[in-house]
């Protein structure tokens, strides 16, 4: 791997952010997480007065709805922020007029995207921590912390979200549209990936859709490592499945991105 490109990308992105960081993006994302948490809190405590359905406990392995929903919303914040940044990198270059010069330079895409991803991860951790603190106020409790599981969940999530970002990035660059593509994907993920409710409640075809998005498994894994109630062998199964799907996304995304870049460059003037 070309560490030089990686380092250069991080330095460049860091400088751009220092000078013109889109704070409204950050605030917007934290607020979205807050509203999701707040909505769940109102529903649980006031609308249904803490009465969970019988199936909830057996499906999730926990009776703590608030922690369940808050962990989901934090993971959602994480994936949205990663996708927003990494997918839009080349699109941003196109907008800023630097795509052409970037393409003239001989560099490895992997290092370039990883550089972006690494920097974004640091920012996202900061944002997620703020959102987690708000979550604690609304009842987020860690019941059965599994440190090994947690580290695996974080690393695997980063790996998988990177894959999802690549594919989304291809769609964005091809359609030259970020507003419609990103929001459609995000609202769809919120529905099918089991963010605030167990995905088993969904009809079959939506469940299938959810199972081909690695976010679903990552959310389950993170919940299992924080809230417990998940047998060890099932966790291993989840890890393997998420890893396989994530790898498929990356293996598909990388060559696809190269193709889309060529099309984007051709259409750039048109």
């Amino acid at each position: 791997m070309e560490l030089k490109v990686l380092k250069a990308t991080i330095t460049k992105e860091f400088q751009v952010r220092l000078r013109a960081y889109p704070v409204s993006f950050m605030v917007g994302c934290i607020l979205t997480s807050f509203y999701t948490t707040f909505g769940a809190w109102l529903m649980y405590h006031y609308f249904f007065r803490g009465q969970l359905s019988e199936s909830f406990g057996s499906l999730t392995g926990t009776r703590d709805y608030m922690s369940y929903a808050i962990v989901g919303s934090l993971m959602y914040l994480f994936v949205v922020r990663t996708c927003l940044n990494v997918s839009r990198t080349l699109m941003t270059e196109l907008w800023e007029g630097t795509l052409e010069s970037l393409m003239l330079a001989p560099f490895r895409r992997v290092s370039y995207f990883l550089g972006n991803m690494l920097l974004q991860t640091i920012t996202t951790f900061g944002e997620t921590s703020i959102a987690a603190l708000i979550g604690v106020l609304f009842g987020l409790r860690i019941h059965d912390f599994n440190p090994v599981g947690f580290i695996i969940a974080v690393l695997l999530s980063l790996y998988c979200f990177f894959g999802v970002s690549l594919i989304l990035g291809c769609v964005m660059l091809y359609t030259r549209n970020t507003y419609i593509t990103q929001n459609t994907l995000f609202t769809a993920m919120f529905l099918v990936c089991g963010i605030t409710f167990p995905k088993e409640y969904l009809p079959m075809w939506l469940r299938v859709l959810g199972s081909i998005i690695p976010v679903t498994d990552c959310v389950s894994l993170m919940r299992a490592s924080l809230l417990g109630g998940f047998p060890q062998d099932q966790m291993v199964k989840l890890v393997i499945r998420a890893f396989v799907i994530g790898t498929a996304y990356i293996a598909l995304g990388m060559p696809l991105m190269k193709k889309v870049e060529i099309i984007a460059l051709e259409k750039m003037e048109g």
Binding site: V27, Y35, L42, F48, F56, T184, T187, T196
Partner: protein
Amino acid sequence: MKYFIKVLWAEAVKQHRNYFNNWMIYISLFVWPLLSFLSAYYSYSSFNVDGTLISYINGNNILVFLMLGYMAMSFFRSVVQSAWNFSRERQSGTLEYIYLSTANRLAVLMGNALSSVFESSIVMLIFGLLIVFSNRASINVNTISLLVVIFIFIIMALLWGVFLNACFLYSRDTDFLFTILEEPMEIFSGVKVPIVIFPAWAKIISFIFPLTYALEAIRQVMLNGASLQAVSTILFVCLGIIMVLLFATLITIVVVEKHMRKTGNVVLF
């Protein structure tokens, strides 16, 4: 009056040509609300629905309860989008031309809101009506009250849009509009959770949004069979809001025009 309607219609047609030239618009107008609606509906599955305090909500009609919420919200949400689009008039410089013409300002704003209220909500409306119709056994409608409430509801949505448009005659910074009006409106207006059971402080916030009252009236007459007398208080509040919105819009139009004449900044802030 004839002239007023001519301007209003011209603006509505212009808006239509501007935004409905691409099928992608339907994704934001229909697919997103539909996905949010489904998410909310399935999140109810985690709970024992019959355990709620609201007497007229049960496992059978909760789908209609939620659908009414999202249907009503799509009207109010579409005008937020229309206001957002209206601010582009300023950026692209066409607002200046409108102000140079003799067109009635209120008619322009109203034409804009009119086109978005009816056009942008139509797909969601049809879908919602299908859902309500297929669950008709679970609802309890008072037809006369419903007709009156729908009439007031549409006027309210329209004037809410006109008012938001008027606000953006003043500034081009529209991002905050989404921050304060998209998700908070969904939560605090009682789209997913009825405001009756809100804690006091949340209730106070919910009173800011006109959708709160309109939605409560619609649900009462469609799910609880409420007579006009039973919803009279809400309807009077709605009429009050209509007056306030109209009055505030007229004042804003005058203030903005004065301000623009003084500064000459029609395209800037």
